[in-house]
Symmetry: C2
Subunit: 307 residues, 2 copies
């Protein structure tokens, strides 16, 4: 089933990008200043320790985008990794986002945000929108989508979703994550049937808009592939963001149901398996990252339905 | 029951501060650049729109701290409100945190974070710790505690809690929040008894350490006072952070069970009711904020047990 033509907003942009770039791979950007590519360390400059570290992080991420980006459809910067470097980290994040967009990649800001009314709106302004001030508008990060946490309820999700939608952007709601502890609360059986993540999945399905794929996506851990078919049943139009490939133990071969509504409905996120490929397979960091990203792209693409 | 003497780390510091300052009030800092105190607008300076707005936000928050801070024990900056102003917003946040600490206030960073292993550790580095880089250590925000979201499970909370503990800091886990949508997931009845937030409360109780009050607190909406007694039963040593007073409709008089283990066990958070008191009650913004904070302090203190 082709969903591209009838999608709107974020989903349409994503579908078009998947088709154009022939990739469903999302390049995770989780830079650790003590594990950067050697070339990035040499590029560091700045008038403070934070400034030096942030410039090295920026160089690392941009080199990674240059190497692996052509095999990907989006990048997923982990906000925590930039926030820990303070204001220079935020500057670096902005430059990395701009670099990714210039390379034709979508940007999925990974901060797993969630809060009430005005605070949720402030996150939208920060990530996909702008803030009105008496001095003029302050542009946010310019992300195409961001991740959100559902714990506080549908009203908190609604503010995030409506804010993102006004910016033509999307939201990926945590449904069933890839960590072992996901079993603690997400998997709890409910008194009136089903488990918690299924209830969240139903809300995600309801909250989405668009005739084809929905503009409200779901974060679905690739380490629990037994759940993917059930998730697809509950969320037939939802774009799944599937982290946990590679370093966290997930196998892309187990994810076929994710791609059933079309290739853009299943985004495969990988970070450490690409960035550290050179340590496992040899070669330069860039060459190894490129090869690993292409491998992942090809194995995901082979599983997808006609996009 | 006195718990101060046997508490350790964050809980001990908080207990001592509550006793010394005779206050359980947490001053929420949620600055909206279009609703700042007039005096702050005049203080704006900067070479960019974001810089001007951030300097006005900083002036507003520092003036609010100067006015209402003496009646409070801590400030609670809403991270989203600063993040939306980009790198200048992060600079302003750092200055506001330093101003609050210089005024003897603890700092509870409100970002409701939650993520897996390395990302959770990065949030700790960002908020309470430091990041090791090849160029030296980059100090984080220097908060005394931060808020966290439990949805992803105990392993994700554990990384946050252990990271904060290593920095002598605390974590406040969302248990039952103050928004109407809290009923959607937090209140769901579980197949083997109880509701979701009770299960989270049990985890919060288990995860805490310290002989007296625990270093793992709970965010407990003041708009659902019928739950407070049950929460205290499930979390006898837990410090409750009670938002929702004032603008969100909560009444401090309904919260007595929160204070049962000692006054430091119940922190009353208020923001809009203090900062906008001048619009309701007249007077200068600073005078009205001071008066409102003192009123809130006195009504909470009157309910508390011997601290």
């Amino acid at each position: 089933m082709s969903t591209t033509s009838s999608s709107s907003g974020f989903a349409a942009r994503l579908s078009a990008a998947v088709e154009q770039r022939q990739s469903q791979i999302v390049l995770g950007l989780d830079p650790d200043p003590s594990k950067l590519w050697p070339q990035a360390l040499e590029a560091a400059k700045g008038s403070s320790v934070a400034g030096e570290a942030a410039s090295a992080v920026e160089a690392h991420c941009c080199a990674l985008i240059d190497a692996a980006g052509p095999a990907c459809v989006a990048v997923k910067p982990q906000l925590a990794c930039f926030e820990r470097l303070g204001a220079p980290g935020r500057e670096a994040l902005g430059c990395v986002v701009d670099h990714a967009k210039a390379a034709g990649l979508l940007v999925l800001a990974d901060g797993k945000r969630g809060d009430i009314d005005v605070s949720a709106a402030a996150y939208c302004a920060s990530l996909t929108g702008a803030t009105q001030t008496p001095y003029g508008a302050v542009a946010g990060l310019g992300a195409d989508a961001f991740t959100a946490n559902p714990y506080m309820g549908v009203d908190t999700l609604n503010v995030l979703i409506e804010g993102a939608r006004a910016d033509d952007a999307g939201v990926f709601v945590l449904v069933r994550t890839s960590n072992p502890g996901a079993a603690d609360f997400e998997d709890l059986a409910l008194a009136d049937g089903g488990v918690l993540w299924e209830r969240v999945a139903q809300a995600v399905d309801r909250l989405g808009s668009g005739g084809g794929l929905s503009d409200v996506g779901a974060v679905v851990g690739a380490t629990a592939p037994q759940h993917v078919a059930r998730m697809r049943e509950l969320m037939p139009r939802t774009i799944f963001l599937l982290p946990g490939i590679g370093a966290q133990g997930g196998q892309v071969e187990n994810l076929a149901p994710a791609f059933a509504p079309g290739r853009a409905a299943g985004l495969v996120s990988a970070s450490r398996s690409i960035v550290f490929a050179y340590q496992e397979h040899g070669g330069s960091p860039a060459d190894a990252a490129r090869a690993q990203a292409e491998l992942l792209r090809d194995s995901a693409w082979a599983l997808g339905a006609e996009g």
